[in-house]
C-alpha cells in the first residue's frame, strides 16, 4: 500500500492543535490565557523533541543529517586548523604513496594485453630441467614447434615468434641496431590484432625468397619515418638486404616487456628442423584455444605431446617439460615484476595503516576533549547512533580531504617514478599514469581510511555515559578501562607494524646492497664496451670474422688513452649462455644430468682487458689458432664443481656445441671466478674458448682506458667505422653503465623501500608521542592524586616510562614474531639474493624502535612530572 509521508508542517499543526485544545480546557477550569497556554506546553513536554523525533522517522532525515554532519565536521576542522592539517597531511602522504605504487600495479598487472580475447590465447614454453631463474618460461625449439603444432587438437591456430632478435636497420644511410622479432605469418591473426596501416604477412611469406617483407612498430614509424603513411611499399635495408615495408602496427600494440621495432617473417628451413636444432630453443608458441576448450585441457594435451617427444628424442629432450599459460599470465610472469610490486604494495599498505592509526589516535584524543560536548548533545536528545555517525563523518571528511590531497601528490609521484624508471626500456615502454584504476583505488582506500580513523572515537562515544561526563569529568580518577585498552592496542599495533617494515626493508636493502657492492671478479671501472653482430652477408666464415676482429682491435688500441682491447661473446657478469660438457676419463652421464658451464669465446687479451686474474697455467696466445690443438681456460668454480678439485691443467674436456660433440680441448689455465650476473651473488663454472680457434659472429668489444671511458666513445665509433662504416653498433657504454642497466630497478627499489620504512618509523614515533601525551593529559587528575598521596614527580615519570616500555616491548615482540619468516621468504622470492646475518637486523631495528618509543614517551611524561597536585585536583 502506498502511504504518503506526512510533512513536517502537518505535524507542527497537529501539535499546535493539541496545545490549543489543552489550553482551552484549562481556561475552562479558570486559568488565565497565558497560564493555560504555559501549562499546556508544560504538559506537552519538549515540543522540539517531539517534532525532532517525528522528523527523524522521515525519509529525508538521512541525507539531511549527513549534510548537517558534513557542515559540522568542516566547521570543527576549520576551528582546529593545526589538527586538521596534521591529520589530512598524514593521510594524504599515506594515500599518495599507495596510489603511486598502485599506478604500477595498474599498468603492469591489470592492463589487458592487446588483441581479441587475450585470455583465450595461451603461450607454450618449455621447462628447463637445470634449476635457474624462471626455467619454466624457456622458449621452444623449431622442431618441437612444428611437431607440437601438428599434434595439438585444442587450438584454432598456433603460431610462433622469436622476440629476442636484433637487426641492423639502415634508413637514409644511417645504420641502427633495433630490436626485432621473427614471427610466423599468422602471428597477428592468432593474437587478434590488425595493422594500423598496410597489411600483415601473407601465408607464403615465410618461404625463403619471399621473406623480405617487414612490419614496423608505431614508434619506429614515428621516429624514423615521420609517420609518413606512404612508407608502406617502400624499401628499407635490414641486415644489408632490401625489405619491403608492408604495414605499421598500431600504437597500443606492444606486449608487456616487449619493445619490438621491426617484425620480419620467421623462416624455418631444413637446417632448423635437424636434430641439432633441437637444442636451439628460441621460439615462443602462441595458440588460440578452440571455443569450450579450457587452459587445463590444453595443458594436459601439451604434456602428453611433450612426453612423446621426449621419448622419441632422449638425447636432447630428456627431462625437459612443457608449460602452458594464458597470454596475460605469461607476460606478467615473464616480466617478473609481481614479487617486487607485491612487496612494495605491502609496505605502502602498512605505512597507510600506521598513518590511519595516528589519525585515529588524534581523533580519539580530540573526542576525549569533546566528551562533555557529546554528553550534552546526547542529553539534549541526540541519539547515540547520531553521535557515532557524526564522528564517522568527521573521519570521512578528513579521509576525503586526505585522499584529494593524496591524489595530487600521487600525480607528482607518478611523474617522478616515470622519470626514475626510464633507464629500462621495457619498463618505460609501459605507460603508467593516473588512470581510472588508480582513481578508484584511491577512493577505495580513502573510504577504508575513513572507517579505520573514525571507528575508534565513534566506538568510544557510543559508550559515553552522560552522567559521569556531565559531572566534572576530572572526578573520574582515570580513563575507562576500555579506552586504555584501545590505546594500548593501537600503540602496540603501530610498533609491531613499524618493526615488521623496518626489518623487512633492512633485510632487503642489505641483500641488494651486498649484491651492489660485491666483487664481481673483474675490474668494471675504466672499461668501455660496445656490441655488434657480424652479419653473414659480409662476414661469412671464420677467416673473415677473425680478420675483422684483428683489424678493429688494432685500430682501437691506437686511440689515445686506450690501453687494451679485446672481444668476447658475452660481457662478464651479464649472464652468458651455458654449454653442456664432458670430461675425458669421467663416466658419461645421461643427457639431462650432464654438467653445464657458462661459455665465453674471448680474444687473446681478454683477461688483461677485463682485469680477471690468472691463477694457474697460461692465457691464450696468438699461436692458439685453428691449426693448433684446441685449448680452453676455466675458472675456480669449474675446478671445484666439475673436476672435484682435481688437478685441472692438462685435463681434456669436450664442449657439446649445437648438439654434436666437438673435439677434446685441453685446459691450459685457471682464472678467478666472475659472477654470473652482476645482480646476483652466485658463481657458476665458466669455460673460456679462444676466439682464434672458434670465432663467433655476435660479440662485444671492450676497451680498458687510462681515463674516463666515456671520453673514448666517439673515437671508438670512428675506429670501428674505419673497418666497416655500415656496421650497426649497439650498447656503446661503459661497463659500469651496463651493470647499472642490468640491475634494473634495484637501487631505485632500495631507495623507495628505504624511504617508506623511515616514513613508517617517523609516523609510528609521532603516533606513540600523540597517544602517550593524550593519555598523560587524561590522567592529570590521577597523577595529582598520586602526588598528593606522596608519590614524587620521578615516581610518576617512572610509571609512565614503564608503561611505555611495556607497550613497546609487546609491540616489538609481536613484530619480531611476524618478521621471523622474512629472511626465508625473501631468499625464495628473489633469485640470486641471499640475506646474511638476518638476526643483526632484528636487534638493530628493535633497539631503534625502543629508542624512538622512549623519546616519544619521555617528552610527554616529563609534563606529567611537573604537575602541581593542588591545581590538578582543584580544576579539571
Amino acid at each position: 500500500m502506498f502511504r504518503r509521508r506526512r510533512q513536517d508542517s502537518d505535524f507542527s499543526a497537529e501539535v499546535e492543535a493539541h496545545i490549543q485544545h489543552e489550553s482551552e480546557r484549562l481556561r475552562e477550569q479558570g486559568l488565565s490565557d497565558a497560564e493555560a497556554r504555559a501549562a499546556a506546553r508544560r504538559a506537552f513536554g519538549n515540543v522540539m523533541q517531539a517534532e525532532e523525533r517525528f522528523h527523524e522517522s522521515g525519509r529525508w532525515q538521512w541525507g539531511d543529517q549527513l549534510w548537517q554532519d558534513l557542515r559540522f565536521s568542516l566547521r570543527m576542522l576549520a576551528k582546529n586548523p593545526g589538527f586538521a592539517a596534521v591529520a589530512v597531511i598524514t593521510l594524504a602522504l599515506g594515500i599518495a604513496i599507495n596510489a603511486t605504487m598502485f599506478s604500477l600495479v595498474s599498468a603492469f598487472l591489470l592492463r589487458r594485453p592487446p588483441g581479441r580475447e587475450p585470455e583465450r590465447v595461451v603461450v607454450i614454453s618449455t621447462v628447463n630441467p637445470v634449476p635457474g631463474f624462471q626455467t619454466d618460461a624457456t622458449p621452444v625449439s623449431a622442431p618441437n614447434y612444428i611437431s607440437w603444432k601438428a599434434a595439438s587438437k585444442c587450438f584454432v591456430d598456433v603460431t610462433a615468434g622469436d622476440p629476442n632478435r636484433r637487426v641492423s636497420l639502415t634508413v637514409e644511410n644511417q645504420p641502427e641496431s633495433v630490436r626485432s622479432a621473427a614471427i610466423s605469418p599468422n602471428y597477428f591473426d592468432v593474437l587478434g590484432v590488425s595493422p594500423e596501416i598496410g597489411r600483415t604477412f601473407l601465408i607464403s611469406e615465410d618461404q625463403p625468397g619471399q621473406d623480405h617483407v617487414a612490419i614496423l612498430s608505431h614508434d619506429l614509424w614515428e621516429r624514423r619515418f615521420g609517420s609518413d603513411p606512404s612508407v608502406v611499399g617502400r624499401t628499407i635495408r635490414v641486415n644489408r638486404e632490401n625489405y619491403d615495408v608492408v604495414g605499421v602496427m598500431p600504437k597500443d600494440f606492444q606486449l608487456l616487456g616487449y619493445t619490438t621495432q621491426v617484425w620480419t617473417p620467421l623462416v624455418i628451413n631444413t637446417a632448423d628442423q635437424s636434430p641439432a636444432a633441437r637444442n636451439d630453443r628460441s621460439l615462443y608458441m602462441f595458440a588460440r584455444l578452440k571455443p569450450n576448450v579450457t587452459v587445463e585441457q590444453a595443458r594436459a594435451e601439451a604434456v602428453t605431446v611433450a612426453r612423446r617427444t621426449a621419448d622419441a628424442f632422449p638425447e636432447s629432450e630428456k627431462g625437459w617439460g612443457v608449460a602452458v599459460r594464458t597470454l596475460p599470465d605469461f607476460l606478467i610472469y615473464d616480466f617478473s615484476i609481481s614479487t617486487g610490486l607485491a612487496i612494495l604494495m605491502t609496505t605502502v599498505g602498512f605505512v597507510l595503516l600506521i598513518a590511519c592509526a595516528n589519525v585515529a589516535g588524534l581523533l580519539l584524543a580530540r573526542a576525549a576533549g569533546r566528551r562533555k560536548e557529546l554528553a550534552i548533545r546526547i542529553s539534549l536528545g541526540a541519539g547515540r547512533l547520531r553521535v557515532v555517525r557524526q564522528l564517522l563523518t568527521e573521519g570521512l571528511v578528513i579521509a576525503v580531504l586526505g585522499g584529494g590531497t593524496g591524489l595530487l601528490l600521487a600525480y607528482w609521484g607518478i611523474n617522478f617514478m616515470r622519470a626514475s624508471l626510464s633507464f629500462n626500456e621495457a619498463i618505460s615502454a609501459v605507460p603508467f599514469r593516473l588512470d581510472w584504476n588508480v582513481l578508484l583505488y584511491a577512493l577505495g582506500i580513502s573510504i577504508v581510511c575513513a572507517v579505520l580513523c573514525g571507528v575508534a572515537p565513534a566506538l568510544n562515544a557510543a559508550r559515553t555515559d552522560i552522567n559521569t561526563n556531565l559531572k566534572d569529568e576530572s572526578r573520574a580518577a582515570s580513563a575507562g578501562r576500555s579506552q586504555t585498552r584501545l590505546r594500548t592496542v593501537m600503540v602496540v599495533g603501530e610498533i609491531a607494524l613499524a618493526l615488521l617494515l623496518l626489518v623487512g626493508t633492512g633485510l632487503l636493502i642489505r641483500a641488494i646492497s651486498d649484491v651492489h657492492n660485491q666483487n664481481l671478479g673483474f675490474r668494471a671501472d675504466s672499461l668501455l664496451t660496445v656490441s655488434f653482430r657480424l652479419d653473414d652477408a659480409r662476414y661469412k666464415g671464420a677467416a673473415k670474422q677473425i680478420a675483422f676482429v684483428n683489424d678493429v682491435i688494432r685500430h682501437v688500441e691506437q686511440i689515445p688513452g686506450a690501453e687494451t682491447a679485446a672481444v668476447t661473446s658475452d660481457l662478464p657478469a651479464t649472464g652468458a649462455s651455458s654449454v653442456t660438457l664432458r670430461v675425458k676419463g669421467q663416466q658419461d652421464l645421461p643427457t639431462n644430468q650432464r654438467m653445464t658451464a657458462l661459455d665465453f669465446v674471448v680474444s687473446t687479451d681478454y683477461f688483461r682487458a677485463a682485469g680477471i686474474p690468472l691463477l694457474r697455467g697460461r692465457t691464450f696466445t696468438e699461436t692458439d689458432v685453428a691449426a693448433t690443438p684446441s685449448v680452453v681456460m676455466v675458472n675456480q668454480e669449474f675446478v671445484h664443481r666439475i673436476l672435484q678439485d682435481q688437478e685441472p691443467l692438462g685435463k681434456q674436456i669436450g664442449l657439446v656445441v649445437s648438439g654434436a660433440p666437438s673435439q677434446w680441448s685441453e685446459i691450459v689455465g685457471v682464472v678467478g671466478n666472475v659472477k654470473t650476473y652482476s645482480e646476483g651473488t652466485e658463481d657458476d663454472p665458466e669455460v673460456y674458448e679462444a676466439f682464434l680457434q672458434r670465432p663467433v659472429g655476435s660479440m662485444s668489444l671492450m676497451v680498458r682506458s687510462s681515463s674516463d671511458p666515456n671520453g673514448l666513445a666517439s673515437a671508438l665509433r670512428n675506429a670501428v667505422a674505419q673497418v666497416d662504416a655500415e656496421l650497426p653498433l649497439s650498447g656503446l657504454m661503459s661497463m659500469r653503465a651496463v651493470i647499472e642497466y642490468q640491475k634494473g630497478g634495484n637501487p631505485f627499489f632500495m631507495g623507495v623501500l628505504g624511504t617508506f620504512a623511515v616514513m613508517a618509523l617517523i609516523l609510528a614515533g609521532i603516533g606513540i608521542y600523540g597517544l602517550v601525551s593524550y593519555s598523560v593529559g587524561q590522567r592529570r587528575h590521577e597523577f595529582g592524586i598520586r602526588m598528593a598521596l606522596g608519590a614524587t614527580g620521578s615516581d610518576v615519570l617512572r610509571m609512565i616510562l614503564w608503561q611505555g616500555i611495556k607497550m613497546t616491548a609487546a609491540g616489538v615482540a609481536i613484530g619480531t614474531l611476524l618478521a621471523l619468516p622474512l629472511p626465508r621468504v625473501f631468499d625464495s622470492l628473489f633469485f640470486g639474493i641471499h640475506v646474511r646475518e638476518p638476526w643483526l637486523y632484528f636487534i638493530v631495528v628493535a633497539i631503534t624502535i625502543l629508542m624512538v618509543a622512549m623519546v616519544a614517551t619521555f617528552v610527554p611524561a616529563r609534563r606529567a612530572q611537573s604537575i602541581d597536585p593542588m591545581t590538578a585536583l582543584r580544576v579539571e
Binding site: 499543526a13 492543535a17 506537552f44 515540543v47 517531539a50 517525528f54
Partner: protein, 117 residues
Amino acid sequence: MSTQENKKPLSLLQGTLDLLILRILAAGSQHGQGIARAIQQSSEEDLLVEHGALYPALQRLEVRGWISAKWGTSSNNRTARFYSLTAVGRKQLLKETAKWKRQAAAIGRILSLAEEG
C-alpha cells in the same frame, strides 16, 4: 511517608502507552489531546502521560497500520487530527489486552503471596 506522595501520578510502564491508545480509540475516533485526557481521566488521574510522548507513539501505530488518521473538526469547532482504530488495530488490541491481563494477574499473584507470607 505522607499520603501526598502516594497520590502522585504514576509514570507509564514501558510499552503500555500503545495499548492504552488502542483501548481509548476502540471507543471511537479521537484526536491527540483527547486521547491524553481520556487516559488521565479513565485512570482517575493516576496515570501521567507526557503529552509530547503521545505523538511519536501515534506516529508509530499509524506506520504499523493499527490506526488511521485524518483531519477533522472537533466539538469546539477547532481543526484536529482524528485517529481511529483499523481492523488490524482492533485485533492487535484484543491480543495485547489478553497478554497484559495474564501478565498483571501473574504479577499480582506473586505480590499477594509475598504480602501473605
